[in-house]
């Protein structure tokens, strides 16, 4: 009976999920109360009812503290009462899975790391060259959400409907990872993204339906949907037979419900920087023991701005990313004035003065030839860590799970991201980048490489590497060419692999020839590193490149051109490989060196030129005075 009810519930849930209109609004054109501002800058008072998602996937009854079962509130149905959920979900943080959204400038990917199969591979739903779709490596949207949803505000892949029947059942139990409005907009210090019962942990436990509520100060969630049997029904919960398994349950904190069961949400429109930092923190390992207190924050934050002062959006959440050229992909009306140039220099064609928005200083750039502004982005001189002879390892929130529990704090923990790498962007300007050398097992067919399903790799090449000890630092195992040969042979015998098995690592493509000998190819597109531009942290003007003179970049040992970029690879014998920075800049290395060398003589050039001008001026003055003397003589009527 219960199983039958469960099946009916699942079917009803499916039909609701797959139905087209799930928003609080009857349709997208209908504006809700909170979709359009009346212009008041005062904070809105959010004393509202809580609504859950019901077993049909639709809006449930108001949550009361004595309800049974006690369900987590759904942001779609709670916040969606006044703010069009579908409109919000079209925003930049949530629309990665929408194939119709132009991806814009290359961004930080999700990096799947598994040292047991010597893999670090960039994944992205957005169609960015150099990245791969999660399904290409066998990751379903559900699995992707479990792995990476920890550092997302929900939505996106978390709301994609599963296609496999077994996944559908699990989805009914876990729910969907809805947009968590509270990730950004909760002004209460009790917002918990990363602690032991916080948002990230709930995602790992597959408590997607409970994650948003658990992240707030209003409720606590225990248990795990991951370990619940397929027969478990969260809407008619019964304790599983195995007493050691704890089903996901929510407990609302005392006294949060008013008399009519409304609950107060401390909602802020201006998102504090700390909220953004959970997903967007960077740590550059300048020293071995670098910690966040030893490096300075972005100069804009130090000046009193917050992230959202520049990165703005309306109800559509089409947040500005703030790079030059974003106008080609964004319809945000502030996109032009939200870039570095737009804010500091303004638009020349504007009707009124736009330079100096938000008190931004208007830079004079004295002594810098204008050609620099054609060839360099603003970030080339002003952003990221000061370049050194060797690139640094960098850690990011999303890649290294910063801010969550049980993070490997070792500087060598995978994935290995190196920075800053000064390279040419698509717009032809040089900018600092973070760089990832992909390492993965793939299949070569018609000169294209597609990654092999991770499960297949684990069952084949993974068994070869299973004997190697993994370092506690989270670094690569010591991979040898023998490992690669055995791994490729193992994959070659796997019938489901279409194409010739190859291994990509350290900028090279490894393959076996007809005789079984290992060969390598250096310039294959699939082996090229994936790079994304960095914009933060911005250094103050006194710490920008060029502040100490032209020699910051134009000297024969300047890191900007001649720094060494570490080539990260699991292969032990090739760990010391480097590539010169100039190799990423589409510039001839000799020319770069020769041009830098000429700057040695630049002071002499100035002295000689000024000296010659002085001589010429004296000659001109002398003969001008003689001419004047002649004129005076004639006017005085004397010979």
């Amino acid at each position: 009976m219960k199983k039958g009810l469960k099946v009916v519930s699942v079917l009803l849930y499916l039909s609701a999920v797959l139905s087209p209109d799930l928003s609080g609004a009857a349709n997208d054109s209908e504006k809700l109360l909170g979709d359009v501002s009346d212009g008041s800058r005062a904070a809105s008072h959010h004393l509202i009812y809580l609504y859950p998602e019901n077993q049909d996937g639709k809006k449930g009854s108001k949550i009361a503290p004595d309800a049974k079962p006690l369900l987590p509130f759904s942001t779609r149905w709670t916040c969606g009462e006044c703010h069009s959920y579908n409109t919000v979900s079209s925003g930049w943080h949530f629309n990665a899975v929408d194939v119709n959204v132009p991806p814009g400038r290359p961004a930080q990917p999700w990096i799947y790391v598994d040292p047991t199969i010597a893999t670090q591979i960039p994944l992205f739903y957005r169609p960015l060259p150099g990245t791969y779709k999660p399904e290409q490596v066998g990751l379903t949207s559900r699995r992707f959400t479990k792995l990476f949803g920890r550092h997302t505000p929900g939505g996106g892949a978390g709301e994609l409907a599963s296609k496999e029947p077994e996944q559908v059942v699990r989805e009914y139990i876990s729910g969907k990872l809805e947009i968590n409005c509270m990730t950004c907009h909760n002004g209460h210090p009790g917002q918990d993204q990363g602690s032991i019962d916080g948002y990230a942990v709930q995602v790992v436990r597959e408590n997607f339906r409970w994650a948003a509520a658990a992240s707030t100060e209003l409720a606590a969630v225990r248990g795990s949907a991951e370990f619940m049997p397929d027969t478990y029904d969260p809407f008619m919960p019964e304790p599983p037979e195995n007493k050691r398994l704890v089903p996901p349950t929510i407990t609302y904190k005392e006294n949060i419900f008013e008399e009519d069961n409304k609950v107060f949400f401390d909602i802020v429109r201006k998102v504090p920087a700390e909220r953004c930092y959970f997903c967007h923190s960077n740590l550059y390992l300048v020293e071995k023991e670098t910690e966040k207190w030893s490096s300075d924050e972005d100069v804009h934050l130090m000046a009193g701005l917050t992230c959202v002062d520049c990165h703005r959006n309306g109800i559509g959440h089409n947040i500005t990313r703030g790079y030059e050229g974003e106008t080609s992909v964004s319809t945000n009306p502030l996109v032009t004035t939200s870039s570095c140039e737009g804010c500091h220099l303004g638009e020349k064609s504007s009707v009124g003065p736009e330079a100096g928005r938000l008190g931004a200083p208007v830079p004079k750039h004295p002594g810098i030839p204008p050609v620099h502004f054609e060839k360099l982005s603003c970030t080339a001189c002003h952003s990221g860590p000061w370049p050194a002879q060797n690139t640094y390892l960098a850690k990011t929130s999303r890649a290294h799970r910063l801010g969550t529990i049980n993070v490997n704090k070792s500087p060598d923990a995978l994935p290995h991201i190196v920075s800053p790498v000064f390279a040419k962007q698509a717009d032809g300007k040089m900018a600092p980048h973070k760089l990832l050398w992909p390492a993965f097992w793939g299949a070569l067919k018609d000169k294209n490489v597609t990654p092999i399903d991770l499960e297949i790799v684990k069952q084949t090449a993974g068994k070869i590497l299973a004997k190697e000890k993994l370092p506690l630092s989270g670094d690569w195992p010591k991979l040898t060419t023998e490992h690669i040969i055995e791994g490729l042979k193992s994959l070659a015998s796997e019938k489901s692999v279409e194409g010739k098995p190859v291994y990509i690592a350290g900028g090279k493509l490894y393959f076996l020839d007809e005789t079984g000998k290992l060969n390598q190819e250096e310039n294959h597109p699939a082996a090229q590193p994936y790079m994304w531009s960095i914009a933060h942290d911005v250094r103050p003007a006194a710490q920008s490149l060029g502040a100490r003179g032209c020699g910051d970049c134009h000297s024969t040992d300047a890191p900007f051109f001649f720094g060494s970029v570490a080539v990260d690879t699991p292969i032990a014998a090739e760990r010391q490989a480097v590539k010169k920075m100039v190799g990423f800049q589409d510039i001839d290395a000799f020319y770069a060196w020769a041009f830098a060398f000429t700057f040695v003589f630049r002071p002499w050039l100035k002295v000689i030129a000024l000296g010659c001008c002085a001589l010429i001026a004296v000659v001109l003055l002398l003969y001008a005075l003689k001419a004047l003397a002649s004129v005076v003589k004639v006017l005085a009527e004397r010979d």
Binding site: I368, K606, C613, V619
Partner: protein, 226 residues
């Protein structure tokens, strides 16, 4: 706009000089250019070009100073050619700002050229100074106004025409903004707006300088032919 104006100015200058050479031959014999027009054989043309080049090898006095003057002039000429090519070729032919090795060569020859121009200014200023003999019309006007007869001075150097003197002083005068406009941009004094102005000033001054230098060289050749 600069590209179009520069190309037009160079073409007009060369055409005017060619027409002037044909219309007013430098010596009693026909202008070398006129011979070339009449005799089109490649050998004849080549011979005339070499002859024209040798005319730039000015007569020198045997003294050390004479040798220095001549060498400086030839060096200045070489530097001028290199600077003109590296400066104008990318812009006029490739429609790009000066870049790459063009910049390096240009910046390498520029101080040498500056030295040559400044030293030649000192060495040749006296020979190119104006005297009353250069301005007969002005002399007549002054005599009318003052009712005094001015004594005509002899020209210091009969080989230097008034046009040559004018172009010489224009070259010396223009070399100041030409050099200063680019050198001053190398100091942290001027912001982006002024940097662009200085660059434009250098570009336009260089155009006028190059045209006047071409005219001056033409006049030098004509003087040598007399």
């Amino acid at each position: 706009m600069f590209r179009e104006i520069a190309i037009t100015a160079f073409i007009i200058t060369l055409v005017v000089l060619a027409l002037h050479c044909i219309a007013f031959p430098a010596n009693k014999k026909r202008c070398p250019l006129g011979d070339a027009l009449r005799r089109w054989s490649p050998v004849s043309i080549l011979r005339k070009i070499v002859h024209l080049f040798t005319l730039l090898l000015l007569q020198q006095k045997i003294s050390l100073l004479g040798v220095l003057k001549k060498l400086l002039f030839l060096l200045a000429l070489l530097c001028f050619m290199v600077l003109a090519i590296t400066g104008f070729y990318p812009l006029l032919v490739m429609d790009k700002h000066i870049y790459g090795y063009f910049v390096m060569v240009h910046a390498t020859f520029a101080p040498v050229f500056a030295i040559c121009v400044s030293v030649l200014a000192i060495l040749w200023a006296r020979n190119h100074r104006f005297n009353r003999g250069d301005w007969p019309l002005l002399q007549r006007i002054i005599e009318r106004v003052t009712l005094r007869k001015l004594s005509a001075e002899e020209a210091i150097d009969e080989n230097v025409s008034i046009a040559q003197k004018i172009t010489f002083w224009l070259i010396i005068f223009l070399s100041l903004p030409l050099i200063l406009s680019i050198v001053s941009s190398m100091f942290p004094l001027f912001g982006t707006y002024w940097q662009e102005l200085l660059l434009a000033a250098h570009r336009w001054t260089a155009l006028v300088f190059a045209i006047i230098a071409v005219i001056y060289l033409y006049l030098v050749i004509r003087t040598q032919l007399k």
